[in-house]
Symmetry: D2
Subunit: 412 residues, 4 copies
């Protein structure tokens, strides 16, 4: 079984019941599969063919690569080992669409993705539909495929992760084009509006964090464990653009005292003056979004800041970023889900974390170094893909994700 | 007048005659204009949209950029200053499609071209057709536009240069894709087949080189002047794949004695073993071309070698590369036109070379440093774009152009 | 007061007593000052003048820079603000010997240090002695200088840190010279010899970590706080060369499964096969040390591995690296002090960590990102400079420090 | 025989005479050998030990490397093959002090030289004296060593080349130190003062250039050959600081029209505003020299400009740089020898250039690509080391050599 997240549970159902439950579960997953596969294509339906191809920086992947890679996942981990007589769509695609799965063969060097004009977008859509057809074929007899439940569920969540990456990468591609092309004229995301409310207090004590329960989670959320927390206060809302602008106008980007040494180097090497996508035009801060270049809205949560900026803002404010544990304990009382919120916790394994065997085992563990955890979810996160135990992670300097800031204060 | 190539001529015609001659000349140029504009689009007609967009290395431009840049030339240097009431297609295009013309405003940093998904290919074709329409409008009254003859002619030759660049860049884009896509199944280029013939001898003396006559030439060919040459022998054919393979099999790439110090560094830093596009697959040398991956043909002229390789081959053979002057003097007796042939001459101004004033003056002179001259023309050169006085130039390490080798031997 | 480590204490002594105590403390510090200043020069007494000058990589500073920088600390933070009429030795030295103290003016870019042949070594020794003389002058009347106790103590500990850096940097400079020069023929460090003993067990519970008590500590050790720990076993000895060699011989450096993605990239980009300073010569592993190149000794603790290597070794062994808290709780029962031991904890502020105001506040806090904590001390650590609450830190890829590995195992 | 420079001569002397002449020649060479060896040490006698060690940029070698490398030349090419029973001073020195001689074994990567603190300066002086002693031993019986005349002569000239490199590198090391250390308080070089004189005219015709005669020359000067030159005027003096300052004050560094594209990139990437070693301090141009920082002297010849700057200055002036042939033909009438003068000629082989066999053959030929020729000599050139056929060469962007500008104008 993948990810071992139910390892310590007792299976008390009769075989009969259990089978029915699993069948129902698979039926539901297949519905999700169809929905997720369509949603990915819907996200891309607003693009020109040319937008699928480019890779302006190494962090950003061309949209067509996401389309292929998520498909490759189902082909490689479900169809090839399980569908008798399955013929791979194109044997070279493993090389082109593999990501970090070292066990599955040589991978394309990441920065090279933007050099590959082929396979064409239309060929990749054919690949998607070919794989979808064969997935339907394989799962025709649902009861026979009960052991594929976990990998199917993982594939769906994997594609949801790439849906958010698609939004991030599309925004980067359009937002770094001198023509500032509009992705869509319709509203794409629901934004939150900051309200003035009191901070929430939490007393000290031993708490439990980590995933438990019936639903899906990633391997890095497992290992529910106890932590000791001092008393703290936390802001129920993420920091707004207006608050962040005050930091900027108070010389936030010019005063090294607020910054980590590495952050200060980053500011100066890149001549940073504002969050990503902010442009000062004719005396007015403009912000690029999927609807194009618009006036900055003060009440919206600040977005596209990196860890250095989040930490510098907190230092300027005389407060701190929450730890993972503080965030998770407080989460039920917070307005969250609009920004990935930087925590003051590095991305490290929970106690008793174990890699799953095989290629799937590479999913999360191999990235547990040199990164920081972000909690919550963002406006770009797929529906049904957020949990208060979810551990997202990025490098300190990265800010093309929909990341924001929440503040805490120690009470001791 | 541009490029001053007729500076020393006497204009003895009556005004009447002269006007008629110029009108005829413009009529002919307009025919060429239409033909060249169509040819460029024909070259691109074999591409997928995705192929227009990528830029695998800084030297290679995305095909859609060539389409826009050649159009920008006509818009900027002919329509804007001469067509009353002309409205530019898009004011931002000057920024996107300007190349090296510092006088015309800020330019896109060259390596960034491959990051721009917009303007889309279809928008660029609209741009082309919009400019073509307005060119036809401007030249409706041919006699009124007589003073535009030279810049029109330059624009046409400029676009022909980019036609060859398109072939070079398309070949690079497809030839560096792991799927090795085929550009066309039909024959694209006429290749030459080496025959065994005697070397040609030339006696010592003072000769004249440089352009003279009625037709078009670039500014760098002007300044016809005398040179003294020692006696020499020259091979009537360029070096073949078979001969080059002998060099490889004799350890040519492993023996520093044949190489310049900079060439030897290049070989080792890049682990070079063969010309560009050569792949050793299952015991057989394969060569990528616009028809896809094919067996290497020994009798064809070797292609895609850089100056270091050409010079190393000559050193191995105990011969030399020709100087510009040797090549030009011998050219009438040579089989040339299939490969750009590396000379042993650096790209420097001829005596009395003068830059033209204004943006056009930047055309050639600013590149006259740190490059070597190649003479002849290649299979990818546009019809009517070759002359035995043509001075092409590339850096010593570049080899994505259709470049080959010709050998000479000193007779003293 | 610096570092605020006594902020929450009650001062109950009478002024009389207190003054005496402080005077005694200063007398003791001044003795330490003399000892530490001499020790630094003793470390360098084995060098040739040329060894003081070079900087083979950015991480390594030239020894003469350490001599100047530690002196600059006393001049800048003690003499200039406190010794009336003090004349700086050379006003340009602030530029040359400042390190990261942004508040004190422009600093030399770190990689440039190795380009500066002047000030000469002899000038720097004059600088040292000039500053030492003035320090003695300033502290002649000890009671008048009671308020300088903390900064004096910090300066002493700061110089001790640089003593270990001197050993690290000298070893790097000599160990990367093709002549493998010997620093000294006499024994420089006392090594530990691994014995076979049982692992130690610790039960779960809430524990306290962080500095408390009377002595000196750095700001990053403050904020003693509670943590919850699961039960665990820990090895009383660090991992030996012999054990590490088994990992190597079992293909440890060739199997990506043991490695973080970033670690695997590091191994392959740098073609790493063994710890730093290991050389395989004539069928024998040799290790470079301050006594020169010697046969590897299996029973000594492995040294000069980075976090990636430590984590890969633990993964291969099916164990883990300790967290900071596990290490500190277990420390009383461990053999420690011979290697800085990589923990599985990122270098982050303890709860309630506050930067001190002014330049001194930059001491530790600005580095609390993108690094891992190492605990213990090493053979190269100065006497009196180790504590079981000491938090050393390096980047995951760094290994020129005297770093080793200790293993733990979760018991739940 | 080396360099074949006498290949076409008839040896008509009787054996008796010839032997005596050669003996006398060797006696004279040995005197030169002693003088040159001492001169090198004299140049270094003004240095601190620390100055011998650093390498601020890849182009600059540490002075101690020059001391060792010139010695290595005599040991490798004269002592080892010719002195029976000679024991090399240290077998590892071949690795450390080899330069570009690929035939003699692996070489240190050039940028690494500045990382090597050992061998120490004192060891290198011992090496020098050891080799000098053995040279004297070998040449005790001069008549027996007659066949070593040419290699001895080459070694002497090789060391003279390194004497000028020593001045260049020492100036760079001291001139890039924030303390601006003085090399010597005494006058080091004799400067020329520009006088206002008329330009010299030369008529068109066929001329001969290249070395001929009895003395020493390098292989790249051989192959005396005919060239055709148009009529031209040439300035008898090199361009002065004052003239160059006019170019600067007329916006020379801000106007792309004067520059090659590569030169313009160089100006902007490096934010260049003036020649190397010029500093604008308190409203005054100061120039760093071996006597320290001094006021700029307008009448002295401008120094430390690269080819881009020289060509831009000429373009601004509406004149040109001379070709090699123009310079050599005019040289007898010129004031030359104070600056290496950039020519408009690329560094390419003369007709009939042949590499000598063996390691010595690498001397010049392997650098004949991607560089420009400079003619003349400089204030830093060793006595007896200049000829009007001497072909010095540097890359277009380099300017740490003592390079200046001379102007010509075409008369046709």
């Amino acid at each position: 079984m993948l990810f071992g997240k139910n390892e310590n549970k007792n299976f008390k159902f009769t075989l009969m019941e259990s089978t029915t439950i699993i069948e129902n579960k698979i039926q539901e997953l297949l519905k999700n599969f169809e929905f997720v596969r369509q949603s990915t294509e819907h996200i891309c339906s607003f693009l020109e063919i040319e937008d699928y191809v480019v890779q302006p920086i190494a962090d950003v992947s061309p949209p067509k690569w996401h389309l292929g890679h998520t498909t490759w996942f189902f082909e490689t981990f479900i169809l090839i080992p399980n569908l008798k007589g399955y013929k791979v769509f194109d044997p070279k695609y493993n090389y082109v669409f593999n990501s970090y799965y070292e066990t599955v063969g040589a991978r394309v060097i990441r920065t090279d993705r933007g050099n590959l004009s082929r396979p064409s977008v239309s060929e990749i859509y054919s690949y998607r539909h070919y794989v979808d057809e064969h997935m339907r074929l394989l799962f025709k007899d649902v009861s026979a495929q009960s052991e594929l439940k976990d990998i199917l569920e993982l594939g769906i969540h994997h594609e949801q992760q790439h849906q958010e990456l698609l939004y991030m990468d599309i925004k980067y591609i359009l937002g770094h084009n001198p023509l500032f092309p509009v992705y869509s004229d319709k509203k794409v995301f629901d934004e939150i509006i900051r309200e003035q409310v009191k901070e929430l207090s939490f007393s000290e004590g031993v708490f439990e964090i980590g995933f438990q329960g019936e639903g899906f989670c990633f391997d890095n959320e497992l290992g529910r464990h106890q932590v000791y927390l001092d008393a703290f206060e936390i802001d129920p809302y993420p920091v707004s653009n207006k608050e962040y602008l005050e930091f900027m106008e108070d010389g936030g980007y010019e005063n090294f005292r607020f910054w980590h040494a590495a952050g200060w180097d980053w500011v100066n090497s890149n001549n940073v003056k504002a969050p990503l996508y902010w442009y000062f035009i004719d005396g007015q801060w403009m912000v690029f979004g999927l609807n194009g270049l618009k006036e900055m809205e003060g009440k919206q949560a600040v977005c596209h800041v990196n860890y250095y900026e989040a930490a510098a803002f907190a230092a300027w404010k005389g407060m701190e970023l929450p730890t993972e544990a503080q965030w998770e304990i407080a989460s039920k009382s917070l307005e969250w889900g609009h920004r990935w919120e930087w925590t003051q916790s590095a991305y490290l394994p929970y106690p008793r974390f174990k890699k799953a065997p095989g290629a799937i085992g590479e999913y999360n563990g191999k990235f547990m170094v040199d990164q920081m955890v972000l909690r919550g979810a963002s406006v770009a996160t797929s529906k049904g893909h957020s949990r208060n135990t979810y551990r997202n992670f990025f490098k300190s300097h990265q800010r093309w994700q929909f990341s924001g800031i929440r503040l805490v204060k120690s009470l001791t």
